[in-house]
Symmetry: C2
Subunit: 419 residues, 2 copies
């Protein structure tokens, strides 16, 4: 079977990881900070474009900065197989998140070149703008615009904390491209494939090489504003208090109980990531607290039930703690199932390559969930060390783990490109 | 019976409250910001010194900026009766906290002047530097130094967030006085009296004019550092999490349960005022959380039991949540009982004036707890409106409420100064 060059792929991952590298103070580890549309992102993009051109690919940049690099097929007017991901990062990233998918795509092209294989359909390697959403607050930005979920003008108007707008920053780094954002809709793709690190502990714990991704689970985010009454911690009797911090604590522990109850399915996840009590002083009962809730569930039905039950619990806390709880939805996506036929092919390819595999739901959002609106879509996960930690300089997958994922992608891409 | 001029006292409170006044944005109310050793504090101090000198008092400023204004007695070498409090404020204060005690003392002197009463013992009206501790982090600073609990050099070395030191700021505002800090120890006082707003809801709720303060309760502050493991909220199974935010929530609710159990006495108070989860993002399981604990109890024995039980609960949470909880004591004072004989006299004076009264423990710290090391000490509380809210522009006591407290003080001061 045709295989990629694992060492060459890994050298590319290391080389891209040097752009935007920084030393993480507490640990001394080297991390990556290539926030979308910063100078570092611009430099990373130019490196990847240079590699694309070295490979003789035909590069297109669209109005939101998405990049498509096209390798011609034998029947070049057929819809292409698109392989993609992103190269922007969170501020405290490792080298693998997103980059594996893009550089894996280029390694597949390089392998086809070397073997003088010309596929029936064209193959496009793509990277999408600002998948992370860390800077402008909206994740999957480029792929959401390209697939028509988000209007271009709304994307352009987003601003970072310094007030800088997406459009201006695209222009500044030289990636306000000439092609229409509908470029990918006009291809349209025959299939979209994305190889990504799992960003979780499951594959590593079960000693699997490959995750056959069944889909992306539903995500529900809420921002809570809890209003009680600030009071002197030394003088205010407990029965006269309306402690917004205690109310937030109750909601946090309720999330835990909801999971433990099993009523919303085993795969449910729930997290209170942020809590900000005001005024936040040792001797003042918090009169106000902001808090966030993150719910995930592969079942839309279970998710809806969890949301409804949580909201009715807020009413109970309001009564018990004499507070007011206002909640606002800050994100909500339904589950996105991936193409079952391509899933079966991924499993078969892994078997053929002697790789252990397992079906797995994606806990995180990915560009693939946007592309799934356009064409049959699939994802391949590879395991990560250290419980699959991600968004952290400790993020690490071995050269072999990375290569296994891309080798599976290579077989599937070849298959699909011959259809 | 001799009485003070309620309207005159109130005008002085209003006049001092104009120094450092600001408009509180959300409410439109006028608050007071006279943080210790700022320009506003200097201006407030000069105003009070001007009033002291108008009354012909002999003013002494010590090396930590405490101010003593002395009215001669018939037997002028006898230990004086000292009436005092503070005029510095928190950044979001009202007009009454501290100022009532100092201006009440001056109103008592003014009343004695007008009635041509010369007491046997001298009377000293005092205000102490930085009772609030909001700027340099140590409360009761001036009275702690004056009574020998805190070395002068330690106090001088304290710095605010801008790095400005107490000694330099004292000098800058012109209150690095020439008198030794032992000035009050050398008098020594025959008794110390302090009139203060309750800063709580009890007297108002029970429709009492006067609180006969039995003492100051024990205070125990802890700063917790909870270390878990940050993780992706979408991908990390619940059983692999070590959520520092959940651990903080458990401690917060445990405080509530400890109160409800009644095991530590009805007057126990417990508060988690601050919680800071890191990194504090909606989709990241907090890997670390800082939190504070504030415990109050009038019984040292109950306090020690509560502290020990809480610390052993930390061990339980460490086990349950796979986190590490480090705690550090940031403040600890034992209960300070006030002089029972003066308490009885306060009750009798209130009866004689037709004022309702009730014994009450002080939930907050006061200069009186420092002075209690030197001499028989007592405090008189007056009620506040709006549940006794304090450290807030809504802090409010009526002219009558203020005058009632100072009239009781006048009778006690006269009594004690004739002994």
């Amino acid at each position: 079977m045709l295989k990629i060059d694992a060492a060459r792929l890994y050298r590319a991952i290391e080389a891209l990881g040097r752009i935007g590298a920084y030393v993480d103070e507490p640990t001394g580890l080297t991390g990556v900070n290539r926030l979308a549309l910063t100078d570092a992102d611009g430099e990373g993009r130019r490196q990847v474009l240079a590699w694309m051109r070295e490979l003789g690919l035909d590069v297109t940049v669209d109005r939101i900065g998405n990049v498509y690099a096209r390798r011609a097929g034998r029947e070049d007017t057929l819809p292409p197989v698109v392989i993609g991901s992103h190269i922007d990062s969170v501020p405290t990233a490792g080298r693998f998140d997103g980059c594996l998918g893009v550089l894996g795509g280029l390694e597949i092209v390089r392998t086809l070149h070397e073997s003088n294989i010309r596929t029936r359909r064209p193959i496009v390697v793509a990277f999408f703008t600002d998948e992370e959403g860390s800077r402008f607050g909206t994740d999957m930005l480029g792929s959401a615009v390209a697939t028509g979920r988000l209007p271009l003008e709304s994307a352009y108007a987003l601003r970072d904390r310094q007030g800088l707008a997406v459009r201006d920053e695209l222009e500044r780094i030289g990636f306000l491209g000439p092609a229409p954002v509908e470029t990918i809709q006009r291809m349209p793709p025959h299939a979209y494939l994305e190889c990504h690190i799992e960003q979780g502990p499951i594959l590593r714990a079960r000693e699997r090489d490959i995750g056959v991704v069944t889909g992306v689970q539903a995500i529900s985010w809420q921002a809570l504003t809890i209003t009680g009454k600030s009071a002197h911690a030394g003088t205010t009797p407990m029965h006269l208090r309306a402690d917004a911090g205690v109310a937030a604590a109750k909601v946090n522990l309720r999330l835990r109980e909801m999971i433990a109850s099993g009523r919303y399915g085993e795969p449910m996840r729930a997290t209170m990531g942020a809590i900000v009590p005001h005024p936040g002083m040792v001797n003042i009962v918090p009169g106000r607290a902001l808090a966030t809730v993150d719910l995930r569930n592969p079942s839309e039905e279970d998710m809806r039930r969890a949301e409804a039950d949580l909201i009715s619990y807020y009413t109970q806390v309001e009564r018990e703690e004499k507070v007011r709880i206002e909640w606002r939805r800050t994100a909500r996506t339904e589950p996105v199932p991936f193409d079952p036929k391509i899933q079966d092919r991924i499993a078969a390819a892994a078997d053929a390559l002697g790789l252990g595999h397992e079906r797995i739901i994606s806990g995180a959002g990915h560009d693939a969930q946007e592309l799934a609106r356009l064409c049959p879509t699939a994802m391949v996960f590879v395991p990560g060390e250290h419980d699959g930690i991600s968004h952290n300089p400790r993020e690490y997958s071995t050269p072999e783990q990375c290569a296994s994922g891309v080798n599976v992608m290579l077989q599937i891409a070849l298959d699909l490109a011959e259809e």
